[in-house]
């Protein structure tokens, strides 16, 4: 099947007074129609900037190269006008903070109907009908009354439902959700994740869910791409990644998270911290923190290579065949 979105050698740099910051470096990624992809990484890994770039929302000092093919269009080469026709219509985005994603001085009704009027040419009546139906669909009780309210009259969880409703109103082909539950309490987070799961399956929309939380995406993703220092280091089907991670960073990350469902007190931190994006090492970015490092790792960046059918990892010493016992964890 033709991918819905294809990133090729996709690179983002920010020009700063202290030199170039390499936010995203040489990314290659395919997303199939209907696929649910999680992008996981820590702060500074480039996971958000990558998708801000796809949406044309980067800061002005950004320099983007490579290609982001959406069907037969390269999103990186579109004029502002062409981009406006895609954004909010075919590709929609849900942001982390539902407090700031909504305009505080406009009623929910105006904010919801606007996208339909602009992108779908709907009349006011028709737009209102669809918007209220969508509010009901995302689980907002008493939707016709809520429809007339301002954002500050709603709780955080409720506002995030409104944002999701707004994003799905135009029936986009791709939904990008950037840490959509991070600002929410755990019981509300569970509600919103369930909602995403149901809606995406129901509408057949492709989903990119960006998260720092390997727990939050486990139940929703088909596939997970792990980013580190601006690069994808592993891209695997979800079960493989959690059961037999191939990249030492993916493995170390999984071993560093405490689990609510286990009594064990054993977590292994990853020593050190990620490299500065203004001064990346010549070889593998994770090598300085890696227990499997050899001279080869310092000499060149390992390319993303097939390690099993459907799995790629950027490592000279992938660990997916190791058992838990021969883990070297991170460098000690």
């Amino acid at each position: 099947m033709e991918p819905l979105l294809k990133l090729q050698d996709y690179t983002i740099r920010f020009a700063t007074p202290d030199g170039d910051v390499h936010a995203v470096t040489g990314l290659d990624l395919d997303l199939a129609p209907g696929e649910k992809l999680a992008i996981v990484g820590e702060s500074g890994s480039g996971k958000s900037q990558c998708w801000m770039g796809v949406m044309g929302l980067l800061a002005r000092n950004a320099r983007v190269s490579g290609r982001a093919m959406f069907g037969d269009r390269n999103l990186l080469g579109l004029t502002q006008r062409q981009l406006d026709a895609v954004r909010g219509a075919e590709i929609c985005m849900v942001f982390q903070d539902p407090m700031t994603a909504l305009n505080p001085v406009l009623r929910i009704s105006r904010q919801l109907t606007e996208t339909l009027e602009v992108h779908r040419g709907a009349g006011r009546r028709e737009a209102e009908k669809q918007a209220i139906a969508m509010l009901e669909r995302v689980g907002i009780p008493d939707a016709p009354r809520r429809f007339r309210q301002y954002p500050h009259e709603m709780s955080g969880g409720m506002r995030q439902r409104v944002v999701i409703a707004m994003a799905l109103l135009t029936k986009p082909r791709l939904l990008i959700a950037d840490e959509p539950t991070t600002a929410l309490d755990v019981t509300i987070q569970a509600q919103i994740l369930d909602l995403f799961q149901d809606l995406v399956t129901e509408t057949g929309t492709s989903l990119v869910m960006i998260s720092h939380d390997l727990g939050a995406v486990a139940g929703i993703a088909d596939r997970v791409a792990v980013m580190y220092a601006g690069r994808i280091v592993e891209d695997s089907p979800v079960d493989d990644l959690y059961e037999r991670p191939a990249h030492p960073y993916a493995r170390a990350l999984l071993q560093s998270i405490p689990r609510v469902d286990r009594a064990t007190a054993d977590i292994r931190p990853i020593d050190g911290r990620p490299p500065s994006l203004a001064d990346l090492p010549r070889g593998c970015s994770f090598a300085p923190r890696c227990g499997y490092r050899t001279d080869a790792c310092d000499a060149a960046v390992p390319p993303l290579a097939d390690i099993e059918p459907g799995r790629i990892a950027a490592c000279f010493h992938p660990v997916h065949r190791h058992t838990a016992a021969d883990s070297k964890g991170s460098r000690t």
């Binding site: 569970a190 390997l214 469902d261 977590i267």
Partner: protein, 325 residues
């Protein structure tokens, strides 16, 4: 028997909320009738969602926020009776670590000044050289290289800055440290470093922790006992294993069912029993049990009075009338 290190009885912290110039302010009980004891060397984990009062509880115990009523006994002596000067000196034994590592450090002070300041206040007998020695010793204990002593907070990453905050808290060798979401602002891999550091320091210096967090998995990792707060009230308190393995209160059960687990098969199979709706506003709590309007097991009797804590079969206490059945 010696008195527990800390004993809190019927603590209530009430805020008056102004609703506007011409309206009467309303009272909000951020901490409502909380009683607990903490033994020396023990770690009590305090969990709950935003607005449940967990930070206010920690601060009320230290009298950083003045509680409205109730008593706090420190080694058997009432803290609430101390004069401001006595209280100030008592603070040497009771320190706090804050959530935002960068914001909680003065940007114009060097690391050495930040960590040394509590000594300048509490241990005036120390000479300059002795004070410096203690600072370096403490930096070493928290994993900061001594040559960083003259640097400023902005030169540090979040994880490093939190180490500075921890060093400042333990430099006077306190007995009790209130850890208020100490790892919530940090990346996962750094979180684990800091949790392990806190566990090491607890052992090394015989510390007692009140560990406040919204993250159940982190709390499970570090605590001996767990206290679950909802709308300012204790809904469940008991040993870590009892609370996590056999949660007795329907709210604790819901919290645990909602907590994400990094296991795709388990995550897909779990139907989030999902609590419906949002927590009620503490300005307008439901009548009866605080959890009654969201509780999946609610009965008519729940809507009449707030249940007292009662013992569950598995050893912990929970505030739910269903427990005796």
């Amino acid at each position: 028997m010696t008195a527990p290190l800390l004993q809190v009885e019927n603590l209530l912290t009430r805020f008056e909320i102004a609703l506007g110039m011409f309206r009467k302010p309303v009272g909000l009980n951020a901490v409502n009738d909380v009683s607990l004891t903490v033994a020396e060397g023990e770690t009590l984990g305090i969990v709950g969602e935003s607005g449940c009062g967990k930070s206010t509880l920690g601060r009320s115990i230290l009298r950083l926020i003045e509680p409205t009523s109730g008593t706090v006994l420190w080694q058997g002596k009432p803290l609430t009776d101390l004069t401001p000067e006595e209280l100030r000196m008592q603070r040497r034994d009771m320190q706090i670590i804050f959530q935002d590592p960068i914001a909680s450090l003065d940007p114009r002070m060097t690391v050495g000044q930040i960590i040394g300041e509590p000594l300048a206040i509490f241990e005036t007998a120390l000479s300059r050289a002795e004070r410096n020695e203690r600072v370096v010793e403490t930096m070493d204990a928290v994993g900061l290289a001594p040559e960083m002593i003259n640097r400023f907070p902005h030169e540090f990453s979040g994880g490093q800055a939190q180490r500075i905050g921890i060093a400042r808290a333990i430099v006077t060798r306190p007995k009790l440290v209130v850890c208020d979401e100490p790892v919530s602002a940090l990346d996962v891999s750094i979180q684990a470093q800091i949790v392990n550091l806190l566990r090491k320091l607890r052992e090394e210096f015989g510390l007692t922790f009140l560990f406040i967090s919204h993250d159940l998995s982190v709390v499970r990792l570090i605590s001996d006992r767990i206290l679950v707060l909802y709308l300012g009230r204790i809904v469940e308190i008991g040993s870590k294993d009892a609370v996590f393995d056999h949660p007795a209160h329907p709210y604790t059960q819901a919290l645990l069912a909602a907590a994400p687990v990094p296991d795709p098969k388990l995550a897909r199979s779990r139907k989030h029993v999902a609590l419906k709706g949002d927590p009620p506003s503490p300005l307008n709590p439901p009548p009866g049990c605080v959890f009654s309007n969201r509780c999946p097991k609610v009965r008519d009797a729940c809507r009449t009075a707030q249940p007292e804590l009662r013992a569950a079969r598995t050893g912990q206490q929970a505030a739910c009338i269903l427990i005796e059945e």
